[in-house]
Symmetry: none
Subunit: 242 residues, 2 copies
Amino acid sequence: MSITVLVVEDEPAIQDLISFNLKKSGLTPICASNAEQATVMINNVLPDLVLLDWMLPNMSGLEFARQLRRNTRTQVIPIIMLTARIELEDKVSGLEAGADDYITKPFSPRELTARIKAVLRRRIPEISDEVIEAGGLKIDPATHRILAYADDSCSKYTEIKLGPTEFRLLHFLMAHKERVYTRTQLLDRIWGDHVFIEDRTVDVHIRRLRKVLEKVQKDNLVQTVRGTGYRFSSESAVHSEE
Amino acid sequence: MSITVLVVEDEPAIQDLISFNLKKSGLTPICASNAEQATVMINNVLPDLVLLDWMLPNMSGLEFARQLRRNTRTQVIPIIMLTARIELEDKVSGLEAGADDYITKPFSPRELTARIKAVLRRRIPEISDEVIEAGGLKIDPATHRILAYADDSCSKYTEIKLGPTEFRLLHFLMAHKERVYTRTQLLDRIWGDHVFIEDRTVDVHIRRLRKVLEKVQKDNLVQTVRGTGYRFSSESAVHSEE
DNA sequence: AATTTGATGACAGTTTTGTGACACATCAGG
DNA sequence: CCTGATGTGTCACAAAACTGTCATCAAATT
C-alpha cells in the first residue's frame, strides 16, 4: 500500500527537495505548484495527506486548506502547513484553518517525515484490540497474550507464546471462526495483498501454530478443509467417517 | 515527571496567581495571554491540560476550545474553563465546546489544584502522581522514588535510582501494565509527539531500565514482545517447556 | 496404482533485538 | 571558562528469533 502525499509548493527547488525526501522514506509524492493545480489533482486521486505551503500564488495556503475542509470528500485529509519562521509570528494561525500540524522552514528531512508519520499515525484508527475467546482459547491483542484453559472450568490456564506471524494468523482465524479461508485469502488478509509468497507457506505457518497448540491440546481447533483451506472451529469437530 | 499546564489568561495578576499556585503543587505552568500566543505555544509543547479563561481578547475562550477540539493533535487535551460567577449561565456552552470542567472566579488555590488533578486522573492515569504498585515494584511519582520489594512479605525493600527518561518509561509502562506498546507509541507518549528520535532509541532505554532492575531481580517485569514492542507485566509469564 | 493435496522437518537467509561504545549535550561548582 | 558528572541519542555489531522455500513423506481421491 503506497501512501500518497500531495505537495503544494510553488518553489521548484523546495518541491524537489521534499519530493526526494518523501520518496526516500517510502511515500509517494505528487506535486502541485499552486492551489488550482492542486485542486485538479485532488479530483483525480485523493491523497492520504497534504503538505501545504503557507504562501502560494493567487490563493493562499490558508484559503486552500479551508477549501479542503469545506468539502466532504477532502474533509478528513490531514494537512501539514509549511511556513517560514517569520510568518510564524503572524497572528493568524494555520491551525485555525484546520491544519493538523505545521512545520517551519527550514526543516530537516527527518523532521519532515517524522511529522508526516506522526500525523498519519494519529489518523489511522487502532487495530481492533478486543479480546476474543473461543474453544478454551483467549487471545488478547492489547496485551499480546494468548491463554489456554485446561477445561471449561476456566480455573487453570497456560500462557502460549507465538511468533508474530502465528499470532496474527491465530488472531485472524479466531476473529472469523467457523469460516474457511483459502491459502490465498489468508495471505491477502494476514500478510497483505501485495506480498509475493508461495501459497504453501501458509501450510508451514499452520503447522507451526498447531505445534504450539498441541502442547495444550488445542490443535484440533485449527482444522484443514481439504481442497479449500483452513478454518478455526470450536464446534465439536468430530468428522464422521464413511 | 513534570505535568505542564497551559494557562491562557489575559489578566497578568490572575496569571501570576495561578502560575504560583500551580508551581506550588508540583505542576509546570506555561502562560499565554491570548489565543494566538497559546496556539503557538501548543505547537511547541503539547501541554497535559489547558486552563482557559472564558473571556479573552480577540478570540473568546470558547472559540479557542473549539479550535483545540477540532485539531487531532490537541483533541484529547483536557480543558478547564475559568469563568466569573456572572458568566456562570454560560456554563452549558462551555461544556458544549468540550471543556472537561470549569471553575468560577474567585476560586481557592486548593479548589484549583484539586480540580486539575481530578481531571488529569480521569483522563490519563500515567500523568497523575498516584503511587503505582505492581510485581513487587512501587513507584511514587510525587516523591520520585522507586522501591523494590525482595519478596511478597513487603518487609524488605531496596530503593532504586533511575535517570529521568528511564523513570518516565517505567512509570508509563507500570501505569499501563500488561499492555503492549510499540516503540513509536512509547516515543509519542513518553518523549512527546514532537520529538524526532529513532525508534531504536527506545531499545536502549529499555536496556538501561532493565540493567537497573536486574540488580533487584525485577528485570523480568519488562518484557519484549517480538514484532511489536514492550510490555510491563507482573503476571507470571509461565512458559510451558516442551 | 496413480494422482492430487496436505503435513512435516530441515535449512539458509532475513529481520528484529540486545548491547557496548561513543559523541554530544547540559549543568553544577570551581 | 573550564571540568567532571550525568544523561541522551545513534551507531555498529552480535545474538536471537523468525520466515519462506524445498524435498519428502503421508493421506485422501480417482
